[in-house]
Amino acid sequence: MEKLLSVKKIVVGNQQVKILRDISFEVKEKEIVSIVGESGCGKSMTLRTIIKLLPKNLEILSGEIYFDRIEIRKYNEMEKIRGKEIGMVFQEPSSYLNPLFTIGNQIEESIKENISKKEKKEKIVNILKEIGLSPNVYYQYPHQLSGGMQQRAMIAMSLINKPKLLLADEPTTALDVTTAFGIINLLKNLISKYGLSIIFVTHDISLARYISDKIIVMYAGMILEKGNADLVYNKPLHPYTQKLITCLPEKYKKGEKIRTIEGEVPSFKNLPIGCPFSPRCEYRQKLCEEKIPEEIEVDNRIVRCIRYGNFMEN
């Protein structure tokens, strides 16, 4: 399989803070990659970096992003890529759909092909059917749809141009479990049908294992572990990943107390000098607090921890 997207040593931030540090990963064709981590660890920012839609006060400070042989960082016609080559689906469809326009209207304006209005409508109705919505949705406004239907409409909107890559920013977090399951299966089916790759952001590491080929574990703007989904889930190497997995509800016996990870996620304004997880880590050594570990390949995956490798030169 060929590489579709490769992110190399990306740093995002401004003079005061660095939101993303040394982010590198790859997405191959027809691959689902999940990014997991706690709230505010930079998962969504990673997605926004890929389509260069960062908040005004942040910018890409260094690194490279290649998408389909285009260097995104130097590319100036992002309008041609956004929506056409890379689609995006969001967490809360109700606020990410414009309340004043019909679903049909909002899908239609994203069509990049130069075809007649009638053909456009035909195309939209087809994709609505494919995604499991009635063609009537074309004439409906977002507030007339349920959360699950809105999310399906959103997916239809992001797939209308048959993009190569879909960025899914917690698409199921705002939905109830059964609706979410429907959406997940829909996404899985779409991959085989459209031959598309997905970057799937979620809090839920077991959902990530269910849906994806590869898992990336992020913490405080850094990748701590990445590799094959089953491998990372069944045999986590990084202490943070291990903690995350032991906290999962399905790992409890009846009557057992709920486990948590002691401590808090550090704020971006006050990051530890060394390994970002060091204040909460039980294997912490003195050096962990002073230096950031390098990414190292162990056991068919990449992990950033001193227990398996060396520290980075600052």
């Binding site: 389509i51 839609l53 990410y96 309340p99 004043l100 959103m154």
Partner: protein, 321 residues
């Protein structure tokens, strides 16, 4: 939709009756009436005053007076002015026309200027263009209307580029219809400009803030992520959403047609309702004041109805209800 409008219009009748009843009561309960002032005059005998009171129906209880007035309203009779001894409708006809012309002219001008400026300010937020605009907006908001009026009048009287005071020039009688219209417009320009200048600032700020807030909405981010050109995001997605709250304000503004221009009318000598109603209030000219309150109430209600209809046209979520 038609049923909804009819329904709303129907609800207005009790609303208007309630409103006029309370105003009538408040005017009549306050001590004194038009004839109290006449008592000061030794040349008018107390009997004459009593007779006049009877003539105008002021000797009856307030409630009865109100129902007499209401009955007359339903036969389109606004009553007689105490001080001018002519029917109120005759008195306010021309002045109402002048005031409405002035208000509509200035509201139109204010909106047509401040809405685009607001959008421009929001797009250029925190850049030099926005800072300059906002600086002038602050000045416009902080200066009281009468002060702006004085400045404009001072400027006009120094340069004499526009006529000041009244609605017509000396040659008006002999002019053609078109010349009459132009002459009227020229006279309208000074009070109109003053009202516009004092209104732009706040409306600009409202529009700018609305537009800015809309630009930060998630659905605008979606539009960017869809690869839609920026101008289309501004003028399709953001504009429609940002203009919604403005429509409600527009409805209120319409209700201020009568009262909003009062001060400027008096300062610039524009013969509108302003001075007439002010004098009416000061001299307890009951039916004149009631007529102006009634028209104001009707305008308020119509303005709100218009805003609701416009809102229903632009926002599908309102249409449902």
């Amino acid at each position: 939709m038609r049923r909804y409008i009819l329904n709303r219009l129907f609800q207005f009748i009790p609303l208007l009756i309630g409103m006029t009843f309370i105003s009538f009561l408040i005017i009549q309960i306050s001590p004194g009436d038009y004839f109290t002032q006449l008592k000061m005059n030794p040349e008018i005998s107390p009997e004459t005053i009593e007779n006049m009171r009877k003539l105008f129906g002021l000797d009856k209880p307030v409630i009865i007076q109100y129902f007499y007035w209401l009955k007359n309203i339903f036969s389109f009779n606004l009553g007689v002015s105490f001080s001018y001894h002519v029917p109120v409708s005759f008195l306010i006809k021309v002045r109402l026309k002048n005031t409405i012309a002035l208000s509509i002219f200035s509201i139109f001008l204010t909106w047509i200027i401040s809405i685009p400026l607001g959008i421009y300010g929001a797009i250029k937020d925190k850049k030099i263009q926005e800072r300059i605009l906002s600086f002038f907006a602050y000045i416009g908001i902080s200066l009281p209307g009468f002060f702006i009026a004085m400045l404009v009048i001072f400027f006009i009287s120094k340069t004499a580029i526009l006529p000041l005071g009244g609605t017509t020039s000396i040659f008006y009688e002999n002019a053609s219809n078109f010349e009459k219209f132009i002459d009227y417009l020229k006279h309208l320009l000074v009070p109109g400009l003053i009202l516009t200048l004092s209104g732009i600032g706040s409306l600009y700020r409202l529009m700018k803030n609305n537009f800015l807030e809309t630009l930060n909405s998630p659905y605008i981010f979606t539009a960017y992520a869809k690869g839609i050109p920026t101008y289309k995001i501004y003028f399709k997605h953001a504009l429609r959403n940002a203009i919604n709250p403005m429509i409600t304000i527009f409805g209120y503004e319409l209700s201020g047609i009568l009262s909003g221009a009062g001060l400027v009318e008096i300062i610039t000598g524009w013969p509108g309702m302003g001075r007439l109603v002010l004098e009416g209030v000061l001299s307890f000219d009951l039916y004149l004041v009631m007529a102006s309150l009634l028209i104001g109430g009707i305008l308020l209600i119509l303005g709100n109805l218009l805003a609701d209809i416009l809102l229903a046209l632009t926002d599908p979520r309102v249409r449902l209800r």
